[in-house]
Amino acid sequence: MTHIVIVGAGECGARAAFALRERGFDGEITLIGSEPHLPYERPPLSKEGLAGAEPPKYVAGAERYQAARISVITDVPVEVIERKRKFVKLAGGRAIQYDRLLLATGARPRVFEACENAERIRMLRTHADALAIRALLAPGRKVAIVGGGFIGLELAATARRLGAAVVLVEGLPRVLSRGVPEEIAAVVAERHWREGVEIVCGARIAAIEADDNAARVLFADGGSVDADLVVVGIGAIPNTDVAAAAGLLIENGIAVDETLRTSDPDIFAAGDCCSFPLTHYGGRRVRLEAWRNAQDQGTLVAANLMGANEPFASVPWFWSDQYDLTLQIAGLADNAETTVRRDLGDGAFILFHLDGEGRLIAASGIGRGNAVARDIRLAEMLIAARSRPDPAALSSPETKLKKLLAA
């Protein structure tokens, strides 16, 4: 019987396991993860999940794995991939034979180098991290967040909701420099400011220290911020060590082709751990850290583990929630030449990004609740269709994007 082994029991690994059964795979499936839990959703960890904390929001309950005949091994990392003899070796020595292997090992937080390893200095990736952070957030407490990316900003919003004081320190001149247009980042920053978050941009951090009772961020200019807790959110790096040791090609992630196959034909990789050629953007190699990408790649890779050989062609899509604001981004805006704004009322707006040929390549929106969701979704479909919509139609909220899609 064919045995498919999946290393990494996160969003992507779990999705792939279920998708194999949905597509009628009848062999054996083993899902191996190093965390103590069944696969759970990470996005809530910085949002409402942090406020609620226990238990994590599982991707599926134990009974669904059982019903789908998926063997799940938790709390044990895979340490070695033996490609010639086609088995993986787990910590503790157990070996598991595979016919096809999927690596869905995700990413881990980037470590700030001048930083002590201490109780009061934290990063946020796992449920255990969220619990540790949650324990130190309360009215009267103060948290210093290092990094003005999505995780840092979402955590800032949640910490305010829990009544803690927040200082957010960013090294660049503004928050959300990576992939978010300035107009939208400004709305986010302004809202945080109104909620009482102190944002310090352009900061040069010399060190982060902590003892049993307090933590401190020290700046190169001699200043400092004292807090009860420091959370560092300065990006993530892909978990490629085991793949690299097995001799697989690594290029800012486990390198895969458009079918998500690694340099070994029996091994695939998907989700946050892999870099892949992005079809709609001239095949440029990217690595995404996005929940839907993990899902979509998990679904597609299941087909390819069964031999379908289908290319991955989704448009990148991302969302973030802060306070009652939701931001959504479809596509990649970095090669945009022109930007068209559509106002949707109540402060919500969308920026459409067009390339030199007038092709829609990205759309970024922000607003309360799901104000921008529908138009961003339609924009995503316009991007996938490689369409060149009339900028005047994009900017006018009276023009339904669905009409443009049909055109």
Binding site: A60, R64, W317, T326, N370, R374, R377, L378
Partner: protein, 105 residues
């Protein structure tokens, strides 16, 4: 089962291949008009998180949740894939004298 027909809106208030939100006595529903001009109703909130489906996108017989793109067949209520796995409840709908009614039990 006793059901209770409640008037939702004028039939023209819902565009073809679209959806509106309808709140009634503390409950919330989503009422749809399909591309072939039929009307349907389901529970108003996604079964993944409590998100109003009426902000989502209708494509053929699918409603896609605005939050994380979970999909349901709004004619049957069936969940069509991750991250949603729990079906939506559906409700009978009728159109009479240019108005849409749903049966709330």
């Amino acid at each position: 089962m006793s059901s209770n027909w409640v008037e939702v809106c004028a039939a023209d208030d819902i565009d073809e291949e679209d959806v509106i939100r309808f709140d009634h006595q503390g409950r919330t529903f989503a009422v749809y008009r399909s591309p072939d001009d039929e009307y349907f109703a389901t529970d108003g909130l996604c079964t993944h998180e409590q998100i109003h489906l009426a902000d989502g996108l209708v494509m053929d017989d699918i409603i896609e949740c605005p939050k994380h793109n979970g999909r349901f067949n709004y004619k049957t209520g069936q969940a069509k894939g991750a991250p949603v796995c729990v079906n939506l409840r559906t409700y009978p709908v009728k159109v009479e004298a240019g108005s849409v009614f749903i049966a709330i039990s």
